[in-house]
Structure formats: structure tokens, C-alpha cells
Amino acid sequence: MRPAAAGLQSGVRNMPLSEVYAVASKDIVFESFDGEAVVLDLSNGKYFGFSDSGSKVWQALSSGVGTEALIRSAVGAAMVSADALEAFIARLVELGLLAPSGATPLPSSDDLPAALAAASEPLDVSVHDDLADLITVDPIHEVEEPLGWPAVKQVS
């Protein structure tokens, strides 16, 4: 499965940031592995893998940490500039993982600045969606073979 290009350019890049975000729906589920996040969108079978800095930001935002608090926590973090953070949040919204929330923003944890400063990878989320929902019509896989099917019915 190839990760899709996961640049941070976003069509919603210039949208104003919300004060606080929440996981976009109950279909967005996530787990953490040694501090690195993997997110699954149950509705379409897409997986999202986060870089180390991206994982910290995801964990903060998905738990209700306010945007301002997050930006303050990132001051001094080489991998997390304010511009990159803004673009990253926009990307997560665009991917349908986060949505603006009306909840009261939570403060960041005391250890978040150090965690962000220690990150060695830029903010990034890779999308793993080569087969996603298509593959369920071919349980024995290898739909990458050019057989001309399966043709899943997706009537909208």
C-alpha cells in the first residue's frame, strides 16, 4: 500500500483557525504506538499515519487542546513553525479528521512543549487509501492486477 502524497498544501489553508477542534465524527478512531498515531476513518477504510511531531499535534488537538495554547507550546520547536502548524491543521480538517468545535479550549499539557521540541520529523500525515473500500468486493485481494474488475457499485 503506497502512502499518498501528503504535502501540507491545502485548499483551505487560508481559512481562519478555530479556537478549538474535535475529532470530526464517531467514525474517526485512533490508536497510538510508541507515541505515533494511526487514525482510521471507519466510513471509508482510509488509514492515516502521522510523523512524530504530527502525532503530538494530533493528540493535543483531538483531546481538545486549544489552538492558541498549541501554538504557544510549539514556540522553539524546530519542526513545528506556526505556519506549518496552521497548514497542518487545515490539512486535518480537509481530510475530514478534525472539525471546529464549540467546546471550551483546554490548556496544553506541561510536557507538550518539550515533546514538540524533541520531534525529529516535520508535521506530516500520510494517507493509505490505495484499496480502501474497493477491496472488500475482492476478499482475496490483488485487485491491483489489471483484471478489469471488481466494479463496486457506488451509486450516489
Binding site: E31, S43, I135, V155
Partner: protein, 358 residues
């Protein structure tokens, strides 16, 4: 021709189950297979699927898992009063929405639109139906792994999981080989079997996490494309006179190449993600659990209808229990097998170390 919508789906599923059970005495043949913790009886027509039921499974003789009885009716309108399968209506169809709607009714199911092929399962009663337009109107993959979806639903309901993974082991200790189709799982499994290692499957295996990670066999059929078949020396060993399957691949049974009877279990002690290497020798290097989880779970969950969130949680727990490695495959089967065997023999002590290689 009736058409099913999301709203009518639960009723249609119950209708199919009732129709199959009403026609129970009219199914021409029965096939019984004893799987880990499951005595499955299929009621069906004579023909290719009945043959597949005879040939595609690895039966178990005694298992620590409590055994349950399960009845599956594989029918078509030529059997008793079995109905003509309905089509899906002109409504938005998503696998997740379909599965959710059935789950709300306590049922599981799958629909393959091209053939109006329906599979419905009631995990509470362990009764299922597979309805086809005719005796041979089933997707071609069904012969290699019959009732795979039903087994997925049944085992998931009991906290276990069919994993889309291969296995290799020695002395009861094993490695789980994860990755999408084409990653090299099957070739690695065959290389191991031909060189003295054990396996409980190359494609789908049953996993439980009750006491560590345990893999059990379900399906007996292995596959290789003609190139791999030749590279692994299987042309000489098995001949080339058998018909290729629907994917243009050679199929054969694990016991045709296994060095000894397939073990009932393997205690899985590590997760490996094979890659086609660019050198002659194989090597094994650590990989992050995040990447291993994506390799293991993404194809495994996507290929199994329904139970997505439970699968995500299950494979997350599994991944956290195991050290994870990338396996860069060399060019010689015996060297690949030797590399894995040596690495397994050093587990768990050295497997926890930072790096290993030939």
C-alpha cells in the same frame, strides 16, 4: 426482481435466513469441517463449492478452544423454495453503512453486486446463508477460501480475528508476515516450507490474543504466480499440469510441500513486513509499530466486511504485543528461510535488539 435498500436490508437478511432454514431438508449435500473452536456444517449443492469445502480447509483434531456448532446454507433458487437473490436498489452503498445497518440488527453480511451474491450471518445463533443466482454463480475467490467472511464474523464475535498474513515457525514459535498482496508473503512462506520451517497459512490465519499471540490454521491452499512457482522450484516438485486459478496462479495444498504436518498452533513472537530486497542476501531491520500496524491492519481490515473498529482495536493490541521488523528478501529461498529461522531461534532475547541481519 426485488431490490434492497439500506432501510429494508435487515428484513431482507432475516428473510434469507428464514428461507434457508425452511429449506434445510432439501439441500442435496452436507459438508462438515472441524476448525479451531468451530464445527461447521455447510448445507449446499453438489459441485465446485462442495469440492472446495472438502479441499480448502485444514481440519483440526482437538483444540484448546471451546468448540461451537455452526450451520451455513449455501443455496440458490434451484434448491427447494430458495428465492432468487435480490439486487441492491438505487441507493448509496457503502460497505460501512451496510455493515452498520446489519450490526444494529445483530447480523453480519456482505453483498457482491456483480453477481447478486449475498452472505448473511447471525452470530447469536451461528446460522448463515449464502445465496447465489445459481449453483456456480459465486465469485472466483470463493473456492480458494470458502466462507471466509462467515469465519471472519464468527471468530470476531468471539474476540478472535482472521488476519491477512502469512506465518512461518519453528519448534512452535512463529513470525507473522504482514503486508498487502504482492509484498512477498506467500513466496516467503513457500520458501520457508521448502526449507524445513512450519506454517499455519500464507494468506489468512486465525489469531487470538488470549495468551500472547497465537496463530491457527484455517485454509490449506497456497498460491504462486508462474514466475514465483518456477523460482521456488515448484515446477519440478509439483508439475505444471494443473489448471491455473482465476488469478492465473498455481494453487496447491500446504501439505504437498510442508516438511511435517501443519501444527495446530504457532506462538507468534514477532511481526515482519516483507519487501522485495535489492540484494542477494536477506536482512531484517526494526520498524516502527505504527508502520507495522498499517501494513498488518489496512489490508486485513479492508478485506473483511464489517467489524472495522473491532479489527482496528484488535490489530492495535496485537501490534503492541510484538517486536516489529522489515524483512528485505534476498534472492535464494533457502537463504530467506535460513535468515528467518536464525532470527526466530534467537527470539525473544535478540529479537528485541536494535538490529539484526545476516
Amino acid at each position: 426482481m426485488p431490490r434492497v435498500t439500506l432501510e429494508t436490508l435487515p428484513d431482507y437478511a432475516r428473510f434469507l435466513l428464514a428461507a434457508a432454514e425452511s429449506a434445510a431438508g432439501q439441500f442435496p449435500v452436507q459438508r462438515a469441517v472441524r476448525l479451531p473452536g468451530l464445527d461447521l456444517t455447510a448445507h449446499l449443492d453438489a459441485g465446485a463449492l462442495a469440492d472446495a469445502m472438502d479441499q480448502a480447509f485444514i481440519g483440526t483434531n482437538g483444540d484448546r478452544l471451546d468448540s461451537r456448532q455452526c450451520h451455513i446454507f449455501i443455496g440458490h433458487p434451484g434448491i427447494g423454495d430458495m428465492p432468487v437473490p435480490a439486487s441492491w436498489g438505487d441507493a448509496h452503498f457503502t460497505e460501512h453503512g451496510f455493515a452498520q445497518k446489519l450490526a444494529e440488527a445483530g447480523l453480519r453480511g456482505h453483498h457482491f453486486h456483480d453477481l447478486d451474491f449475498w452472505q448473511i450471518y447471525d452470530p447469536g445463533r451461528r446460522v448463515g446463508v449464502q445465496l447465489m443466482r445459481s449453483a456456480d454463480a459465486f465469485p472466483p475467490w470463493e473456492q480458494g477460501a470458502p466462507l471466509r467472511a462467515v469465519l471472519h464474523w464468527e471468530y470476531a464475535a468471539r474476540g478472535m480475528r482472521l488476519a491477512h498474513a502469512g506465518t512461518l515457525g519453528i519448534d512452535g514459535k512463529g513470525v507473522l508476515l504482514a503486508g498487502a498482496g504482492g509484498a512477498g508473503k506467500s513466496g516467503t512462506v513457500v520458501a520457508g516450507l521448502l526449507n524445513g520451517l512450519d506454517s499455519v497459512g500464507d494468506d489468512y490465519v486465525l489469531i487470538d490474543l488470549e495468551n500472547g499471540v497465537t496463530a491457527r490454521p484455517l485454509f490449506s491452499i497456497l498460491k504462486q504466480d508462474p514466475k514465483g512457482f518456477a523460482r521456488l522450484g515448484l515446477e519440478r516438485r509439483l508439475g505444471t499440469d494443473r489448471p491455473l486459478n482465476w488469478q492465473g496462479k498455481h494453487t496447491f495444498h500446504i501439505d504437498e510441500i510442508a516438511p511435517r504436518p501443519v501444527p495446530a498452533t504457532l506462538d507468534i513472537v514477532m511481526l515482519m513486513v516483507p519487501h522485495i530486497g535489492d540484494g542477494e542476501a536477506s536482512s531484517i531491520v526494526p520498524m516502527s509499530r505504527k508502520d507495522a500496524m498499517i501494513a498488518l491492519a489496512s489490508s486485513g481490515i479492508a478485506q473483511m466486511p464489517g467489524e472495522r473498529e473491532s479489527g482496528f482495536r484488535f490489530f492495535s493490541d496485537l501490534t503492541r504485543l510484538l517486536p516489529c521488523y522489515r524483512l528485505f528478501l534476498g534472492t535464494r529461498p533457502e537463504e530467506i528461510a535460513g535468515t528467518i529461522a536464525d532470527f526466530l531461534a534467537r527470539a525473544p532475547d535478540e529479537a528485541e535488539c536494535d538490529h539484526a541481519g545476516p
